[in-house]
Amino acid sequence: MSNFSFLEHMGIAKMGHIGDQLTTAIINFDPTTASEVDIATYKEKCDSIEHKIAESETAVATANTTMTNLQAKLDRACEAGKAMKAAINAATDNTVKTQLIEQANVVMTQIKQVGGSSLDGLTDGDLFDAKDDLARAQTTLTEWKNVHVQMIGQLKSAQGDLKHAQDDIARAQRDKERAQARARQEEADAGLRSGLGASGTSPALAAMQAKAAKLKEDARAATIHADAVHQTTHSDADSIIADVLAKGTPAPNVLDDLNKL
């Protein structure tokens, strides 16, 4: 019998309408699609199963006590029966014997009531019934425990799925925000580029180029001024600059450099 068929059986047989509701709720519960409300409701059902487990444990303890007491009673009655048998066999007086037989009948009635036709409680009698009750109570307890384990598993699974889904939503939200931020940045960058004209040269580069041109002009002016002073033979500015630069940075003496090593 599967746990759910056990539940259906128990639901109908022992828990009435509430049991039916419980059974339906458990069977209809789908951990993969359960909402927070579904999970809370299912948790309540789990708690009610825990209550059933506690009840079943009490039933097992009671049935066990009953069985133990009956077994003890049967043992004592059997011992008394043996004592009666010995007393009857030993009695010589008929009156005494008759009295003993009457007592023995009372004892045998007790033994049969508790021990049944086999006198040991293995086929019928109060002890047999008590053993049966105990076995039933133990089975019921085991089934409730199995159902509970299964429900807890489903509950954890549902809680995990729900958490996973919530994490996915949060992650998607963060991705969206990041994408929006990127888009905003790109728009801003695009606006800046359009402000620089068609050449596409950056203002810094333009400034550096302008500065280099200024430096070149200053160098040329200085060269012209120098030529005027030293009467150089160069005819164009570029060769004059090259000459000046060459003179300004004399070729290093290799031996000096080697001496530095």
């Binding site: 009655a77 008394a80 004592a83 007592q103 009372v106 007790q110």
Partner: protein, 264 residues
Amino acid sequence: MNFATLIAAMAKKKFMPTPQVPHPARTPAPLRASQGSALEIEIIPMILAKANGGLIGDVPTDHTVVAVGQFTLFDGAVRYYHIYLSGLNGGFLSIGMRGTAIIETRLYRLYTEVNPSDSEEWAFWLDSGEPAHDEYATGFGGIPVKVGTTPAREADGYIGMPVMNSLDADGSKPFNRSWGSGDKRIEPFTPIETVVDLAGDYTRLHHRMMHYTRPLTDKIAEHLLVSAVAEDSIYPSGVILWLGMDVDPGELKVFPATDTPAFP
């Protein structure tokens, strides 16, 4: 009044309730064995005791509860209910409870009752010894003068000794003390038992009590309960011995009286 007479007097009390004067409240008792309830004891414990050399003998099986006594022992850890039975004059079903659990169920019948007539006879049962003390004589001018020291004397009252024997007529069989420990005499326990009878009247029994047991087999034992009992007084009027046997609660059938209270 001896104990059997006292309990017999309780049993004879009749109380006819009327609408104006309802029946007095019965004592809530385990197994619902309150005053007025009927009680049937199976013969199995009697057969077992007899077959194994018990002294208790035949005990009637059908009874009415004529009174219920209660007291606690062992610093209140165990509460005892004495269910006095019509078929056992002075005898009772003793139910010991620890919390809500029944820990023992025994049937006691009156074994013998002794009424000591003088201090020497009382000392036999209850002597509790004497500490060492100085002896004085009257000296010159009436001033007390120490003349010596009387040494301490050990208690030798029979109640509380490690072993108590059955009557000589029953072979003087030894029962070992089952309350308290050690191999020396201990002072008897002194519970006050409150007994309520069928008419709702109270009697307080001041006990100096001890319990003894002897094994009949590895599973069956016989008990000897002894007490110097004082009825509504601290001065005992007699020493009572009861013989007892264990009864399984399953061997008892109680038919509660109609207004028997539920037992908590």
